[in-house]
């Protein structure tokens, strides 16, 4: 661990668009501090060009390593090549890139398709053979998690003809839009009576949807099942109240494994596994939601 002490590491973060993202940033900063790393943080405000600028800036400064949470999979080859030429190891966080594997040390990420699949599998188990009309709250149109989580969920419910996706709209990953879209779905599906479950691409939208369901006089978690992804504190408190049924955790601690891999590499050149996949753990009310809420509360979500 000490091998990282005093190193300068650049971290190009996407931005601060959600609570989960803020948690990832603060966990990364915590991890760096614990290891005595001087972390240079750059917020790209959702823009790939800013991330590229940041990486180039880090190279110009001569940092010892670079962490990057890429906003999109494509377009990294040139800048990663530059980093390689400058002999600076790069580690990708929370999603991969479309670039030759030798351009980065390792990629620490979750499997977003799997997250969707886990959520879908849970629903398949929960409804059994009963017919079930699902409404889907998509993430931002075109964003990678939205595409992957949709795909995974669809894979999971394939072959279970009793489960159909009745409506699917974007809630932009936000609570407010999640609520608004859910309100519309409820009106469109016979006052919500026809809806069996809502699948939200993230917990924030699910929290909004839960409020919309309550406002319509229905019971979230009972009348309409709620399944979502991320595992932010608020969804656990909803679970405590019996208003959410399942969430798939996406850990904000991507930096921990990344620093471990870096330390090993710098110490004796150990090549880490190319893809370090974080766990996509399913949480249901049976998993002590109150406890989960308490442990997560201070993480900056």
């Amino acid at each position: 661990q000490d091998s990282l002490n005093g190193l300068v590491v650049g971290f190009s973060q996407i931005g601060s668009e959600s609570g989960w993202r803020a948690a990832e940033t603060s966990v990364t900063k915590q991890q760096a501090e614990e290891r005595g790393i001087d972390l240079k943080f750059a917020d790209a405000q959702q823009k790939q060009e800013n991330q590229i600028k940041a990486i180039r800036g880090f190279i110009a400064q001569g940092v010892d390593a670079i962490l990057v949470a890429p906003v999109v999979a494509t377009g990294w080859e040139d800048v990663l090549t530059e980093a390689k030429e400058a002999e600076i190891p790069v580690i990708l966080l929370d999603r991969g890139v479309d670039a030759p594997e030798d351009l980065y040390l390792t990629s620490v990420a979750s499997d977003q398709v799997k997250e969707g699949r886990v959520a879908g599998d849970w629903l398949v188990n929960a409804v059994g053979t009963e017919p079930c009309k699902v409404v889907e709250l998509q993430g931002t149109v075109g964003s990678t998690p939205a595409i992957n989580r949709k795909q995974g969920f669809e894979e999971a419910i394939k072959g279970h003809d009793n489960i159909t996706i009745a409506r699917s709209q974007t809630g932009d990953f936000t609570r407010a839009k999640g609520k608004e879209v859910m309100e519309g779905f409820i009106k469109a599906e016979n006052g919500g009576a026809d809806i069996c479950a809502v699948y939200a691409h993230n917990d924030d939208m699910a929290v909004g949807a839960i409020q919309a369901i309550k406002d319509a006089g229905l019971k979230p978690g009972t009348d309409i099942k709620v399944v979502s992804i991320d595992g932010v504190p608020d969804i656990f408190s909803a679970m405590v109240a019996g208003e959410a049924n399942a969430t798939v955790e996406l850990t904000p601690n991507m930096a921990g494994p990344a620093f471990d891999a870096l330390a090993a590499y710098l110490k004796d050149g150990t090549e880490p596994a190319k893809f370090i996949i974080t766990e996509s753990k399913l949480y249901t009310p049976a998993d002590n939601p109150q406890g989960e809420y308490d442990t997560r509360k201070g993480l900056g979500y």
Partner: protein
Amino acid sequence: MKRSLRPLAATAVIFIIAYAASVVQFPGLLSTRVLGNFLTDNAFLGIAAVGMTFVIISGGIDLSVGAVIGFTGVLVAVLISWLGIHPLLAFAIALGVAALFGAAMGLTIHYLQVPSFIVTLAGMFLARGGASVITQDSVPINHEFYSTLTGLIIRLPGGGRLSFIGLLMIAIFLIGALLAHRTRFGSYVYALGGNATSASLMGVPVARTTVQIYMLSSVLAALAGIVFSLYTSAGYPLAAVGVELDAISAVVIGGTLLTGGYGFVLGTFVGVMLLGLVQTYIIFDGTLSSWWTKIVIGVLLFLFIVLQRIIFAASAPGEKSPEKV
């Protein structure tokens, strides 16, 4: 020095002072690598900002440029990667589509007398929506022509690189400056921004010029989109969100008046470089959190504007305080 050039010089001086101050703090900023990056990383913004300069000088605004950049990237990527069309032909198609798009906006603005703010806002929705309809995913481009273009790099001593797109941006700025200051079209643009009624009574072809201005802006935005696709070797529907605001900021920082009639294409260049400097400074600092980054950008924007205001007050002919006309 000509009186009207003073704001331009002022902006340049502000840039130099700001750069010098940053270098004192982070000596690493003074390297050919950083300077080369300035050009490469801001190439697409700079090219789009040239078009925006013309629009703003003519008294309008174009909110669609970011979306056109995104749309063009997707279109080019799809044409090349999915349909196997040669990049050059794909570029031509993309520029042609953009020209039609800009012409449609110009025609609406002129003949329907709808403010440009609203027309180009609708244009922004349309282009962004069009891109996501084509594909939601980001589409990688793997074509040797692309590798050739991105491989065109002049290496400078000290690790710096002058890239093809960086040089293209400089060329566009020079052509833009020539177009603005040395052609009849350019004088019509200034005339429209100065006083559209007078311009029309003086025989300026208002309809044609308006259409040309928005065509120019859209075509340059499309070129910026092509540059962006070269920069990232991909097309992505959500690319360059909000770039229109960066472009407007660059134009305004460069000394062009949003009310129209005054401005400098080369001032916009300095504006782009200033924005790039701010970002690079923040990266070199590396201690700012996400929110402090936004706040610092806002504060710097404010400082530049106020500084300029003070210098303008002494030099700009047209912008008298309305209170004291």
